[in-house]
């Protein structure tokens, strides 16, 4: 299967829309450091999605994978049973999170090709382990996804070569941290918004994780085989 064939219709139509608007040229001008990276595109080996961290595109696709997962989760949440019975506050939070993650997905889906990279294919999330009629199941999953997102971005910032992209990653991770705090507060309360289980009480430092650890943590929700390459260590 070629790279092109592996893409969903949704991805193709998004790229088409993007191209018609001519946004790509603007973006390429804004971030010239990433021009011409043909050899650095993600590699599809059979069914495996390869995230090659030898360029920033690998890092961006890593973020794109996680954002896809988050968005797919909140989309399903807002269409299923628990959400219908949730308090107004929790509804508002969960629907805001759906919107924010959609923005992150759409942005990365546009930015990666605009900068000359190749998007990984759309992942196939598997939330069969989540009971979408259960408040505990929904909110604990949301908590895990948000904390994992924070740890992933915190760990990946150092890999980014382009400081403009580093700043953009920073713009996203603080929003994920805001999410994590809100979900933890409505779910667990007390000091959990920045609990000692995620913010080291001695150093005041938030969670950080390697891509391998993040994929291991998120793997239960992803059916795709994701392989990491050239992760700095």
């Amino acid at each position: 299967m070629s790279v092109l064939e592996s893409r969903s219709l949704a991805t193709l139509s998004r790229r088409g829309f993007f191209g018609r608007l001519g946004v790509g040229a603007v973006a390429a001008t804004a971030l010239p450091q990433l021009a011409g990276c043909d050899s650095n595109d993600p590699i599809l080996t059979g069914q495996a999605v390869v995230l090659d961290f030898s360029t920033d595109f690998g890092v961006l696709n890593y973020a794109y994978a996680l954002e896809q997962l988050e968005y797919a989760f909140y989309l399903q949440v807002t269409q299923t049973a628990y959400f219908q019975s949730a308090s107004a506050e929790e509804k508002a939070i969960l629907d805001d999170l759906r919107q924010h993650e959609k923005v992150h997905v759409d942005f990365l889906a546009a930015a990666i090709p605009a900068l000359g990279g190749t998007l990984i294919r759309n992942l196939t999330p598997d939330f069969s382990s989540v009971d979408f009629s259960s408040r505990t199941s929904v909110l604990s999953t949301a908590q895990a996804l948000e904390d994992t997102g924070v740890s992933a971005y915190n760990g990946a910032g150092q890999y980014l070569r382009d400081t403009g992209l580093l700043t953009i990653a920073g713009k996203i991770v603080s929003v994920e941290a805001r999410h994590a705090a809100a979900i933890r507060d409505v779910f667990l309360g007390g000091a959990a918004f920045a609990g000692d289980d995620v913010v080291n009480p001695s150093t005041g430092l938030d969670v950080v994780a390697t891509p391998a650890a993040v994929l291991a943590a998120a793997g239960g929700f992803i059916t795709d085989d994701i392989q990491l390459m050239n992760v700095p260590s």
């Binding site: 973006a27 961290f53 920033d56 805001d96 920073g170 994920e176 809100a182 005041g204 430092l205 938030d206």
Partner: protein
Amino acid sequence: MKTVFDILAPEAAQALESRRMALVTLGKISAGFALASVPAIGLANRAYAQTSGDPISVLNFALTLEYLEDAYYRMGLDSGIVPTGLPQTYVQQVSKHETAHVALLTSAITGAGGTPVQFDDDDFDFTAGGFDPFSDYNLFLALAQGFEDTGVRAYKGQAANLSTGGGSLNSTLTTALQIHSVEARHASQIRRLRGQQGWITQNNHTLGAAFDGIYAGEGNISQGGIDVSTITDIGADGITEAFDELLTSDQVLAIAGPFIMA
């Protein structure tokens, strides 16, 4: 790019006009805040007014903000203005982190061969301008929100200065990012305690006009040269909520400087 003087000038003028009107109410916080902007001009002499972007300067800039936050929460807790129960639980957790950040950054700067800035609680005046966050819990939370949202933006603005080119491990940058996201957790919680959303919509806020600088630019919908409104079906409010914006060190100085008397 705006300089610290561009930001301060109109606020300072407004402050002189409204100095006597500064009252201990949320509605009047703008007058007090603007008044407090005046002494910030003197800050350029201090080491923490970093402009060079070298890592030690960046860390001292961050350390200055952490000292300010640390003093604020400890003084707030000591004042008795924070209600017992959950409010104290929240504020104690935040305070604990700010104290830890001061120690961590001090150690990091020393370890990197630099000289860490040092402040005493007396170096800060959170009552400058005629309002007193330590006698009004709502005011205390309002100023806390301002400090936390500023802190998030301040760290974000320095991330690029801590980059060593990417593609390899960079513990200084990673540490800064780990503090950055903690500030964001704090900001979310304090905003929600005030009945706000945990995230920032456009450049909206409920802190009074003199706090506009804290949220300046948050209405941005263009990222990396891409007008995000053209590539998503989510509206502009959601787009601005999904990306927190940065502040330059000059912008941060204009916001935080007024509370630093040294």
